[in-house]
Amino acid sequence: MFYKLEQTMNIIDSNILEKFSAHKSQMLDNITVPNFTFGAASLDIALSKETPNHGLPLAQLHEIHTAEPEDSSSAAALALLLAARVRMAAETTDQPITWVRDHGEARRQGRLYPPGLVELGINPDHILYIDATDSIAVLRAAADAVRCAPIGAVIVELAGKNPKGLDLTATRRLALSAKKSGVTTFMLRSKAAPMPSAAFSRWQVAAAPSKALAANAVGHPVFDLTLLRHRGGLDGLNARLEWNRETRSFQEAADISAVPAVSGIRTDHEKIRARA
């Protein structure tokens, strides 16, 4: 009888040990990975530079540029989708995304359209939209929003070659506040003059042809991303990503027939644009 009991206890012990070790390795994987990912595995791994921290770090300032102002909708969409991924990674999906925009820019490039946000998979109730009068007001409001810890993410939009008030000091202040409060900040710039900045990473975005659906219909949104600057020393990363609303993640865009075949991820060693 005791032998039976001992056997049972051994079985129980081994089960517990199995589960415990599995859980432990899982816990080790989750320890200190304060990053958010795109969801496209090859890009995330390329960004991590052989470390287990895939993707981009949270609580930092990231810049998103566009070469031409017509791509500003793509840039805005990318910032929004990355902000959603930030909130998923940091598990702060109940905290709002603060969007600070210049009033004149809203008139020129179009106002933010809430049903469009829904179509991208974002709940418009989670957006706090701030309509500021000029670039200095935008920067001030953004600084206040970044300092407020229970905010999911902040998106700041500044257009123009040299908006008033934007300089290295301003970006450094934003970056420091972001680090202190843990709020990831995205700065959208369009037609920017090359300028030193304290951002962790700088991306350039353009719209890319989508994968056609039935009857040559417009497909899901596709973005052409280029990494211009990265504090870890990476640059020249190139990716073409498609947003999948159901999984709420990016995935590499399959080859599109209208464009000559381009591989998904490329690491260029030639400098694409003069770095600031």
Binding site: E70, D71, S72, S73, S74, A76, A77, L78, L80, Q95, P96, Q109, G110, R111, L112, Y113, P114, P115, G116, L117, V118, E119, L120, G121, P124, D125, I127, L128, Y129, I130, D131, T133, A137, R140, A141, D144, A145, C148, A149, P150, I151, A206, A207, A208, P209, S210, A212, L213, N216, A217, V218, G219, H220, P221, V222, D224, W243, R245, E246, A258
Partner: protein, 468 residues
């Protein structure tokens, strides 16, 4: 052209309101005449009413020249009611206005006495025109031998009512002080008001600000007893020369926190268009809590840590005070199929319950654009008639060739809004929307405005939005 008002010198020379300008000029050749600006007079009267807020919050304006102040219970700073009136007279005199005043128990009595230059108790000597009824009634009263209010008061009421109507009795009661009526104050009354008077007017803004902070702490003590927090705080700074400066602060969470108040006050003062100018000094500073909300004792989380909701709401209040309440927005779903109605954005301070948004269809690409132009921008399009998709379009002087398209999505106008019912062609035109992608890869939302032939001979095309 008739004289509306004359100054003292002209009055000495025998001119008065009601005299024709030509007659007046004939009497006094070098008469200076100015146009009567009704609006400017009304604005001045409102300014004087604001200055009178220092005595009582119940100030009512009776154009063109009358102010009614309800000073019941407001005379504790003065020796007597008469002393209050004398103080007011002094201030008006200093500002250059001459005043004729009267104190009475009811507003109508006071009005009538002031108009005719009499004092309390002399209602009987008022002429019957003080009843402010139509001329016919006045002449009828005079013909009946009733020239003064006193005569009317002696007569039996039933006979008067039978002859002249019940309105006469009501007016008579009001003037005699038998019936009271409430006056309509120009400013809404506050829940809690605290104020401070200074024998030596404050000439420095910083002292005024610290005084306001102390007043807030006092006011908040009262709110705490009721379990409420302040949502709208109104502050008035009275200068000794009659000018007043008004500041209003609105917060998203009901608050009793002096630190938050201090921050918001600083934002408010920084955001003023004209900086605060104390002039010769502020001699009265008043803080009123106009709107409140219930606020229980501060809840602290069991695990410690900040109150997250409070921080977010404080950010919203701060930015609303600095930029304006309508510049900090939350989006609300609109109950309409018209696309531009979806741009509805309400101030974040008015946190109302939000309805559910429509869920997108699984597997479909985005059907609505991220950015929308308000109003839509006109473009030139090459398309097959009558209802072919766009083949090529020109926008902002650039030509785009369409490589992919989806559509049309027909969005008709709200036919029930048309003025003439369901008549075709009246009201809004039908729009056929297309989602197009050009060779470069950018995605647009275009529409044809009006059906070819039936609604419009040559429909225009517009770009309404941009997709990601």
């Amino acid at each position: 052209m008739v004289l509306m008002a004359v100054d003292r010198e002209a009055a000495y020379l025998g001119l008065g309101p009601g005299i024709k300008l030509a007659d007046a000029r004939a009497r006094v050749p070098d008469l200076k005449a100015f146009d009567h600006e009704v609006l400017a007079d009304a604005a001045l009267l409102e300014q004087l009413a604001d200055a009178c807020l220092r005595y009582t919050p119940m100030v009512s304006v009776s154009p063109p020249r009358t102010l009614l102040l309800d000073i019941s219970g407001c005379t504790h700073f003065f020796a007597s009611e008469n002393a209050l009136v004398e103080d007011a007279e002094d201030r008006f005199d200093q500002a250059g206005h001459s005043l004729s005043w009267a104190l009475a128990g009811t507003p109508d009595a006071a009005l009538a006495l002031a108009h005719h230059g009499l004092r309390e108790g002399a209602e009987a000597q008022l002429p019957v025109s003080a009843l402010a009824m139509d001329d016919k009634t006045h002449r009828a009263l005079e013909r009946a031998g009733l020239y003064h209010i006193g005569d009317l008061a002696e007569r039996p009421r039933a006979a008067l009512v039978a002859r002249f109507g019940s309105l006469l009795a009501v007016r008579l009661d009001r003037i005699m002080g038998i019936e009271d009526r409430p006056i309509d104050p120009i400013r809404k009354l506050a829940n809690v008001t605290t104020e401070r008077r200074f024998a030596e007017p404050l000439t420095h803004i910083d002292f005024a600000i610290s005084c306001l902070e102390e007043l807030f702490i006092e006011a908040v003590r009262q709110l705490e007893k009721r379990g409420q927090g302040a949502r709208m705080i109104r502050m008035i700074l009275f200068r000794c020369d009659g000018n007043i400066a008004r500041l209003t602060i609105e917060t998203a969470p009901a608050t009793r926190d002096p630190a938050l108040f201090k921050r918001l006050l600083k934002e408010r003062i920084d955001a003023l268009n004209d900086p605060l100018n104390p002039g010769f000094g502020y001699d009265l500073i008043r803080l009123s809590i106009v709107a409140t909300d219930s606020l229980e004792m501060e809840q602290y989380r069991l695990e410690g840590g900040q109150d997250k909701q409070g921080d977010q709401a404080a950010l919203v209040s701060q930015l609303s005070v600095r930029l304006g309440r309508t510049q900090v927005q939350h989006f609300m779903p609109a109950d309409s199929h018209i696309p531009e109605q979806g741009l509805l954005a309400l101030p974040a301070l008015d946190s109302g319950p939000s309805k559910a948004w429509d869920k997108p269809k699984a597997g479909e690409p985005p059907l609505r654009p991220l950015h929308m132009f308000d109003p839509p921008q006109h473009i030139k399009v090459l398309a097959e008639v009558p209802d072919g998709p766009p083949y090529r379009f020109t926008w902002r002087r650039k030509v785009h060739r369409v490589s992919r398209y989806e559509g049309p999505e027909r969005i008709a106008s709200e036919w029930w809004q048309r003025r003439d019912g369901q008549q075709a062609g009246k009201g809004g035109l039908t729009r056929d929307y297309y989602r197009v992608e050009d060779m470069r890869g950018r995605r647009y939302w275009l529409f044809r405005h009006g059906l070819y032939g039936s609604e419009k001979a040559n429909p225009d095309w517009y770009i309404h939005g941009l997709f990601a």
